[in-house]
Structures are given as C-alpha cells and as structure tokens.
Amino acid sequence: MSTGSMEQLYQQVILDHAKFPHGRGLGVAAADLRTGESHQVNPTCGDEVTLQVDLDDAGVVRDVRWEGQGCSISQASVSVLHDLVVDHDLTAVDDLADTFRALMQSRGAGLDEDAEEKLGDAAAFTGVGKYSARVKCALLGWVALTDALIKTGATRTTEDA
C-alpha cells in the first residue's frame, strides 16, 4: 500500500517510542531541585502534553516527566526529548532545542552530520519536516520543555554574561 514515504516519516525509532514511551508519569521532585511545569495543547488536533522538568543548582536537568495524549509523532517526540536532555545543562538543552527546531524547518532535507549526531534518536524525525501540518506535533514537547524551563526561574549562563 505504502510507497515508502510513510516508512520515512514513521521511522521505527518513532514507532517504538510511541508504543513504549520514556519518562511518562508526573510526580514530585526532590526538595533540592527546582521544578518547572508546562501544559501545552495543539488546538487544531487536541494533542496535549504536560511536562515537568527538574533542575539542580548547577543548572543541570536532572529529570523530565510528562503525561500526554496525541498522535504517535507528538508522543514519540516527548519520549525522545526525555532521553536527550536529562543530565545536560541549560546551555546544552537550549542548543538541542534549537537544533531540533532547525531540523523541523529543514523540510525533510535534514541537517549536517554533527547536528544529527547530537540529536541522536531525534534525528529520526527528519521526515516530519516534509509534512508542514505535522511539524507542530513534533515540536509540542519541545515547546513545553522551553516553557517549563522558564518556569523553574533559572537563568541561562549565556544570558548572565
């Protein structure tokens, strides 16, 4: 039935993450961590995600937890995000978020090798960029992450400089 473009869009990595998502389930962080939470919806399709992020004093993401419902692209994207950003500091997380946004804007062309290596499993979303209606599905979790980080009250080292 399919011509192969569906396999390009729905990479096995995406299907696996959609089926067995990582980081699912909201909770409460340890007292020494700052937690930010964000709820994002995609009003056109009703997809939604609530995401919590814990930061330690050094500005390192210690955990990401989330709940959500939506299409496989949106849910898999949050799951992959969880794996990518935990244990990274704010600067690195910002860089990952920017790189993922750039990937989504590449209209399916992808990024250079370094960028894709940095993105790991998230590079599997390259094909989503070809379908403009789906880009916002893939970005839903990243929008929630950016908002949740702001809500932790943390400031970037780059902004402090």
């Binding site: 039935m1 399919s2 011509t3 299907l15 299409c71 692209i73 789906r134």
Partner: protein, 445 residues
C-alpha cells in the same frame, strides 16, 4: 443539463441516482478533482464537510464579476454600479430561493459563524435597550435560558456561552444518545418557559446525524423561544426549505456548498429581522446620519455594514444555481448511496469504530471513526499517503468528542462529486492503517 439528467435518471437507477456518465460530467465541472498528489496519485477528496471543491461556474462567476462588472454596490449612478448591484442582489435571490425563503430575509455574512454571532450580539444590543420596544422580544437576562446541544460545532456553542456570560442568562443543553443523535426525548424537560433561544444544528458535522427540526421548532414555539439553526452541513447536501422547517434564523456558509470562502448567509424571518437592532454599524447600513444619531436601513442592509464581499456573494449565488440545476433530490439520493458505502467500508475493517449512527436513516454521508490503537492524526497521514484526504481532529466539536471519550476522530465526508471508486480506495487505505502501525487485527492496543 437538468433535462438530460432527469431523463437519464428516470430510466437508469432507482432513487434518482447519478449514473456513471452523469457523475463523470459533474466531476468534469470541478477542475481541482483531476489533479494528482505526491507520487502522481489521484486525489480522493473525502473532506467536503470541511470545505467543498468548486465547480468552474463558481470560479467563472467570481472572475466574471471582476472582469466585467466590478464597482461599488448600492451607490453610484453609473452603469457599472448598476450592473454590480444587480449581480449582488441576483445572487441573494438565488441563495434565498435555494433555501425556500425570500431575498429580503437573507443577510450576507462573512461565514456561518459570523451569522450566528450576529444574532447573539443583536440580542445583547436588544438587552441594552437598542432597537426600542420592537426589539424587546430579543432581550435576555437573568432567569432566562439559552438551550443548545452537545452535538454543536463550536460556532453554534461559543457565541451562546458568551451571550449567557454577557447577560446573566443560563446556558443549558440537550445531550446526545449513543449514536450521537440529539436527545429529542429531552426537549420537554430542557426547553421550558424560561427558554429564550433554542440553537441547534440541522446535521452534525461529526456524526452526520440529521436533527428532526420540525419537532424542535414545535417545542420552541410552545414556550415562545426563538430557534437558530446551524444549516452548514444540511444546505449543501439535502433539499432545505427553511420556511417549511419553520425556524426563526438559520446560518450557512458558501464554501461548504461549492461556493467561495469569505461569504455566508444568515436567514432571518422577515418580521424578526425588521425588529432586530443592528450589530456592526457604519457605512451602507444607515438611513439618516446626523452628528447626534442615526436611523438604520431596513433589513437586510441594516446588517451589512461596510463594503461587502461582492464577488464571493456572486460566487455563492452561482453555487446555489449549480446545485439547484443538479437538483437537490438527486444530490441527496447520490449521497445517501455513498453513505451506505462509506459505512460499509468502515464496518469492513477490523478495529475501526464509527462515532455516529451506523444506519443510513436520517444521516448524511459524514462518517467519523476511530481506529483502535492509532491516533486520528496518524490515520489521516496514512490515508493521505494513498491520496485520500480526510479530516482529523475534533472537527470544532470538542464537547461531542468528550461525550464519546475520544480526543480526536478521523472523518470522511462525501459530496455530489464523490464516486464509489473513491470510497473503495478509501477502504483499502483504511484497511492498511493498523497493519502499518504493527497492530494485528483483533488485538487490543
């Protein structure tokens, strides 16, 4: 065209169905239907419930207006202004006739949403005393009730929530049954002497269920409530006679009935339009303006402030004529046949469930469904890969989706130009969805 179609129809198939030659002729009128998609696949357009495709006569009418007649309407003494005004008012006549009313009862609006909002805001203004004693019948406040239904498109829900919030009136609603049909058996309980407005859809844009309008109107009249009908889904697909239905107001859009975007029509019973205060004020809707105050034009101009969407109105008039020439009985018969095929197609695929009636009685060829274990967005994507365009999401009816415990559905809708072959392509693509996502038939996901 009509006579040929009628002759063929008599001998060909029962129920006034279009035969293959007639259907091919209809399809040839719609240039877009012959385009191909990614990978050269033919388009299977099953999203007419969101917006319909446009026949050449509609495109030509808009183009012809600009090429031949463009001028400001209802002003100017030159020949072009006369011709433009005639085209504009002729379109109003065509649309009015198409739904069985007189042209003085049709107000151009930018879309159906604007039409419903117009009624709601006119009621607000009447509540504030605008329109004087004649408009008092539209006033609403604490102790009064507005009744809507759980099946409504947001366009016929949110304006009433807002009206209730502005005026202190209470919003109540009729629920739907397991088939998504509005609970008409609850009319007597929910629609009471406190009810000032009963706003409801003629046909659900999700379930396709057709409302027994006359029964609703009868109850509204018993308690003296105004009726406001969302006719967006019915007017393009069924013969609709608004006078016979007896509703007080009805709103529908051009773009769902083969016409352009940016234009819709609000029907109001003449006597009501005459008593109703204006909403949007300014140019074109006045009689005498002094620095202190203004008197207003009679309807429909009273409700048409500012420069109107003239070319789109002309296009909507052409669309009404096109459908009238095909004959709405024939259109409805063709689509009833497609309803059966669509329902059969969905029923034949394991793990797919219809949200809405599964019988063909009193329903449109609008079939919303969920695929177990696969989100609607992903369903739509796989169908798109086969060239099949369906709508996915909540279709601007979140409460109805919540009622059925789902966030989103996929929805296939047919129109007069839809073919049996297209539904077969849809069926085959749908059958591949769960397989693609690794869900074996019959398993629970």
């Amino acid at each position: 065209m009509t006579s040929t179609l009628d002759q063929r129809r008599d001998s060909a198939r029962p129920g006034g169905l279009l035969d293959d030659v007639e259907l091919a002729a209809v399809r040839a009128d719609f240039p877009l239907l012959s385009r191909t998609l990614r990978g050269g696949r033919p388009l299977v357009y099953l999203d007419s419930g969101a917006t319909s495709q446009k026949p050449e006569v509609v495109l030509d009418a808009e183009q012809d207006f600009y090429v031949q007649r463009n001028a400001a309407v209802h002003r100017g003494a030159h020949q072009l202004a006369e011709e433009a005004t005639e085209a504009f008012e002729d379109a109003r006549d065509r649309v009015a006739r198409f739904v069985g009313v007189s042209s003085g009862e049709v107000v151009w609006t930018s879309n159906a949403t604007a039409g419903i909002n117009l009624v709601a805001y006119a009621m607000s203004n009447a509540t504030l005393g605008r329109g004087g004693a004649a408009a008092r019948r539209f006033a609403i406040g604490e102790g009064d009730e507005i009744v809507v239904t759980e099946a409504e498109h947001h366009a016929n829900l949110v304006p009433w929530q807002e009206l209730a919030a502005r005026t202190g009136a209470t919003l109540r609603w009729l629920g739907v049954d397991g088939d998504g049909r509005i609970r008409a058996d609850d009319l007597d309980r929910v629609v009471t002497d406190q009810t000032k407005v009963l706003a409801f859809t003629h046909a659900s844009n999700v379930t396709g269920a057709i409302t027994p309008v006359t029964q609703f109107v009868r109850r509204a009249r018993e308690v003296g409530a105004l009726t406001v009908l969302d006719a967006c889904q019915s007017v393009p697909h069924l013969p609709v006679d608004l006078h016979a239905l007896g509703v007080d107001f009805a709103a529908f859009s051009g773009h769902k009935m083969l016409g352009p975007t940016g234009v819709g029509a609000l029907y109001g019973r003449r006597e009501l339009l005459e008593a109703m205060p204006p909403v949007t004020t300014g140019g074109s809707m006045v009689e005498v303006v002094t620095m202190e105050s203004t008197t207003y034009a009679p309807p429909p101009q009273r409700f048409e402030a500012g420069t109107q969407m003239v070319s789109q109105a002309v296009g909507m008039g052409a669309a009404a004529s096109y459908l009238a020439e095909l004959g709405m009985d024939a259109v409805a018969a063709h689509e009833a046949h497609l309803t059966r095929l669509l329902l059969d197609a969905v029923a034949s695929v394991p793990g797919v469930r219809v949200i809405g009636p599964t019988d063909t009685v009193d329903r449109l060829a609008t079939v919303a469904f969920v695929v177990d274990g696969v989100h609607a967005h992903d369903v739509g994507q796989v169908l798109d890969d086969a060239g099949v365009a369906v709508r996915v999401g909540h279709h601007c009816a979140q409460p109805l989706h919540r009622r059925f415990g789902v966030a989103a559905t996929a929805r296939a809708t047919a129109a007069v130009y839809t073919t049996e072959e297209e539904i077969a392509v849809f069926r085959e693509a749908l059958a591949g969805v769960r397989t693609f996502f690794g869900l074996t038939d019959g398993s629970d996901a």
